[in-house]
Symmetry: C2
Subunit: 228 residues, 2 copies
């Protein structure tokens, strides 16, 4: 509401409201209504890791390759049978699942509660933005990798393919507000949700387990992009 008031204040000054201003405001409102009328499925990300080819070989052996457990909603990603153990200064977390395919750099996505267990203080980051993030010890059946960086809290984000992005009038890198758990006991509005557009993606709003529990939503429930 305050944000809306600020928008109005900067656009409408008494006696100076031009027809251009009104047109622009009406356009914004129409876009807002259009976006909020299209449901976006929620996808929950449990803690997981992506491995570089080299780190995978160290952890699982030279002759090993990631083995498919199941395809994920995002066509390019798949859950693997392979799991690792994370060891931090304060504790360990077992059975952290590998998500394929290989990545140029190993990346581990955990929750705030997981970070407390491990004794880490990872930043909230978009996938791939690992500079300055903390490392952790990763143990597999064939060996150990001591990462110097790569642990992040995933920034909440929506995946769009280019057609879906056009429908929502969204471009890659935009941030939007998303209403989640509409009508439920824990409805909330997530601010600063990153939009990621690629022909490898499919419409899905990714949150971690603490975020979905805070909103009381499950996999496949729907959320709505709201606000101007």
């Amino acid at each position: 509401m305050l944000r809306t008031l600020r928008t109005l204040r900067t656009r409408i000054r008494p006696g100076l409201m031009s027809s251009n201003t009104v047109e622009s405001l009406v356009k914004d409102i129409k876009l807002s209504i259009k976006r909020s009328s299209i449901p976006v499925p929620v996808g929950i990300s449990n803690r997981h890791l992506h491995l570089s080819r080299e780190d995978f070989k160290t952890l699982f052996g030279r002759d090993a390759e990631p083995t498919l457990l199941r395809q994920l909603v995002q066509p390019v990603f798949f859950a693997c049978h392979e799991k690792v153990l994370l060891e931090g200064s304060k504790g360990i977390i077992e059975n952290v699942r590998l998500i394929g395919p290989y990545r140029p750099q190993t990346q581990i996505e955990i929750s705030v509660s997981d970070a407390v267990v491990l004794g880490l203080n990872p930043p909230v980051r978009d996938s791939g933005a690992l500079k300055g993030s903390p490392g952790v010890m990763v143990k597999g059946p064939a060996g150990t990798v001591r990462l110097s960086s790569g642990v992040i809290l995933a920034k909440r984000h929506i995946h769009f393919n280019p057609d879906e992005a056009r429908l929502f009038e969204i471009t890659d890198g935009m941030e939007v507000r998303v209403r989640c758990g509409l009508g439920g006991d824990r409805e909330l509005v997530f601010e600063k949700v990153l939009c990621r557009v690629s022909n490898k993606f499919k419409l899905e709003f990714h949150l971690d387990i603490e975020e979905t529990n805070a909103a009381m939503v499950k996999n496949g429930d729907v959320a709505y992009i709201v606000g101007i």
Copy 2:
């Protein structure tokens, strides 16, 4: 935003905008701005339980009494040294702390993740509203209590003393929207936050750990009541 538009639509019709309508709208906006200018400290509730005198005696012995670990921000509540174990159909949770004083009915407040561990499906409820909630087995050093109900997910709420409530123009039982983590990486707006007013209370916004982690806020950070 859509809510605001709906409000405007119901109050302002072209050619029918009376001065009363404008006055009422201006009053709402002024109230909204006033409320959102006063910070509300955040208090994190980890899983805990309140015990009836009878259940306490069963769990800790006839001659035992709750012993003070520390006073909580709410003057009437205190954390105790005493801890219990919860056992559900799927698993157990150890070291669940007692919050005193005694209550007429035993009440256990857990997170959604805790509920999954225990194999329970508790409802989101205001404190004391336990009808239809699931039970769980509670084990203490002197005995076991098999609860038939009493396990809930606490409905997020703000405590006010009557002076604070007057300042915010809040009455007991109202629901408000609360912006949390302002300017941070995980800013969000919680809907349907219950307002509880009592001279036993002090201004504090209570959330569980998953809710505070979703917003990336810590004990003592501030939140703001927003919206009309």
